[in-house]
């Protein structure tokens, strides 16, 4: 019983934990360890030349850069959407609220072909964007548009509950002491939602850097220009260059893990702040 921290009367701990650990090892740990085992067979010089090749760097720049821009745009609009959903009532609000999770529920390939059809030069929205000089498909812009779609629910759903939980009495107190709405927003509400902004941003960013299905149709896939990192992995695999694919994947995986750790840190920081107030 050395694993358990407390005595308990409930049964099934060893069975449940044993099965969980077995299944996690079989499905996640062993397959994922392949990435590290395979990398260990590549010399460091080879690894370095793969991940710093101009084509690889361009793919990283696109995947990370577009994910950053999309998450940044989503933070701004996500706050407005979460605010509207948490505070105001308007007709159709329930449907709007339910559809926020649509990008999360829609298979990425469907999102990919829908967004490409929408934003290509003769598409419903693309025709207007092309007219004002925005090439909204088969370009960097297209990748950002797809990643905005994918990341939006992560950001809205992280901020919304925090906005709902802010005690209205604090706002009343501030207002009765003479604070205006803008002052209340920047002095009270913004600091309260800041940790959730950080969490939402890193959740969306982590989800979007590795995104494939929704992006590959709209990206254009020109090597060195509009080729995302996951597509480069697939191209390497199709050329039976397993080492190249693995090296590129490992760098992406490490970035994801660092982000996951930062997210946990942000959540810990947030819970500590809430605990204090």
């Amino acid at each position: 019983m050395f694993l358990l921290k407390q005595k308990t009367t409930l049964p099934g701990f060893h069975l449940a934990l044993g099965y969980t650990v077995f299944y996690v090892s079989l499905i996640v740990l062993i397959p994922l360890s392949m990435l590290f085992i395979k990398t260990s067979t590549i010399s460091f010089a080879d690894f370095w030349s793969i991940v710093t090749a101009p084509r690889t760097l361009a793919a990283y720049r696109l995947s990370f850069g577009a994910a950053f821009i999309a998450s940044f745009i989503n933070i701004f609009f996500g706050v407005i959407i979460a605010w509207v959903l948490a505070r105001y009532s308007f007709p159709g609000k329930k449907i709007v609220d339910a559809l926020i999770d649509f990008p999360f529920a829609l298979p990425t390939a469907v999102a990919g072909i829908a967004l490409t059809t929408l934003y290509s030069s003769n598409g419903l929205l693309g025709q207007f964007l092309y007219k004002i000089g925005i090439q909204s498909a088969y370009s960097w812009t297209g990748v950002v548009l797809a990643l905005i779609f994918i990341g939006l629910p992560f950001i809205v759903r992280t901020i919304e509950p925090v906005l709902q939980e802010i005690d209205p009495e604090i706002e009343d107190a501030a207002s009765s002491l003479g604070a205006g709405r803008l002052q209340i927003f920047f002095r009270i509400i913004f600091p309260a939602v800041l940790p959730s902004l950080v969490t939402g941003f890193s959740l969306a960013f982590a989800r979007t850097i590795g995104e494939y299905g929704s992006v590959v149709f709209i990206a254009g896939n020109m090597p060195g220009k509009t080729e995302i990192a996951p597509l480069l992995i697939i191209t390497k695999l199709e050329q039976y260059d397993y080492s190249g694919a693995t090296a590129i994947a490992l760098v992406m995986l490490i970035v994801s893990f660092i982000l996951l750790a930062l997210t946990n840190l942000a959540q810990w920081w947030a819970s500590k702040r809430i605990g204090m107030s």
Partner: protein, 281 residues
């Protein structure tokens, strides 16, 4: 009093307008495009394109894949949430992090690791070849990759729900002489059934819609290793846009159905879901 707490009607309208404009651009329009393109050549064309033998084969493979992956991940999800929510043990955070891993890994990498395991240049590849077995580029690889990608879905929904429920009811049942299975069946399960339902539906939606991971291990053999999403890609790249969107509309329906179930669960069990949200998204 209420004036002090909220913005002027003009500001309110502007904010609602901005929010709706953004959502129309990025959520309503893509949804609309799927159905309008699928039906642009009429209803009979729509149904005929779904009757294509390769499309039907891809639907079958998708259903079989979900039928295997979802129950396995359901059993795992229940076991994992029982261990994690009901007991306090060392190493819990490491286990929780490991369970989250498939969600933060690129789908392409999720496929790649199975190629590294079972592909011809992979660790078990030569051994499998010598015994006349193949996994990569067969439905088995698709099922394996799908299990990997969807494996946290049930556990993640259940853990916060079970945690919020606490241990008191179960402890009382055990003290009164019920055995473990009986306690689970009559006490725990009724308490978590809504969270469980949503977890299963979400897991199923993901299993049927997975694209990146299965794309890497599938080999895109029509009628054999093409799942529905892969068939959509193939139709689209062949410029059969209407047929591609007809097939896509099936998955869009599935996504809408998932959202309806989510709203129902939310309605039936608000408190439960609040705990879920705190833990999950």
């Amino acid at each position: 009093m209420s004036l002090a707490r909220t913005e002027s009607p003009l500001i309110r309208r502007i904010l609602i307008g901005i929010a709706l404009f953004y959502l129309i651009l990025f959520i309503f329009m893509p949804l609309f495009i799927v159905f309008s393109t699928a039906l642009e050549k009429g209803v009979s064309y729509y149904f005929n394109s779904l009757k294509d033998p390769d499309t039907i084969a891809s639907i079958q493979l998708t259903l079989i894949t979900a039928l295997i992956a979802v129950p396995l991940n359901l059993v795992f999800g229940v076991a994992a949430s029982w261990a994690i929510a009901k007991f306090d043990f060392r190493g819990k955070n490491i286990l929780l992090t490991l369970i989250d891993v498939p969600l933060s890994v690129s789908p392409v990498i999720s496929g790649l690791i199975f190629v590294l395991l079972f592909g011809l240049q992979g660790i078990f590849g030569p051994w499998l070849r010598d015994h006349g077995w193949r996994i990569i580029f067969t439905p088995s690889a698709i099922i394996l990759a799908t299990i990997f990608v969807t494996f946290p879905m049930v556990a993640r929904e259940l853990i916060p729900v079970m945690k919020a429920q606490g241990n008191d009811e179960e402890e009382a049942a055990i003290t009164l002489g019920a055995n473990g299975w009986k306690t689970f069946w009559y006490i725990t399960l009724p308490n978590i059934k809504w969270g469980l339902l949503y977890g299963v539906i979400l897991c199923n939606a993901r299993a049927m819609g997975e694209f990146g991971a299965v794309s890497v291990v599938s080999g895109h053999i029509q009628g054999f290793t093409n799942t529905l999403p892969l068939q959509i890609e193939m139709l689209y790249n062949d410029y059969s846009f209407t047929a591609a969107f007809a097939a896509a509309s099936l998955l869009a329906f599935l996504a809408l159905f998932t959202l309806v179930i989510k709203s129902l669960v939310e309605y039936r069990f608000r408190a439960e879901l609040k705990a879920v949200r705190k833990g999950a998204h």
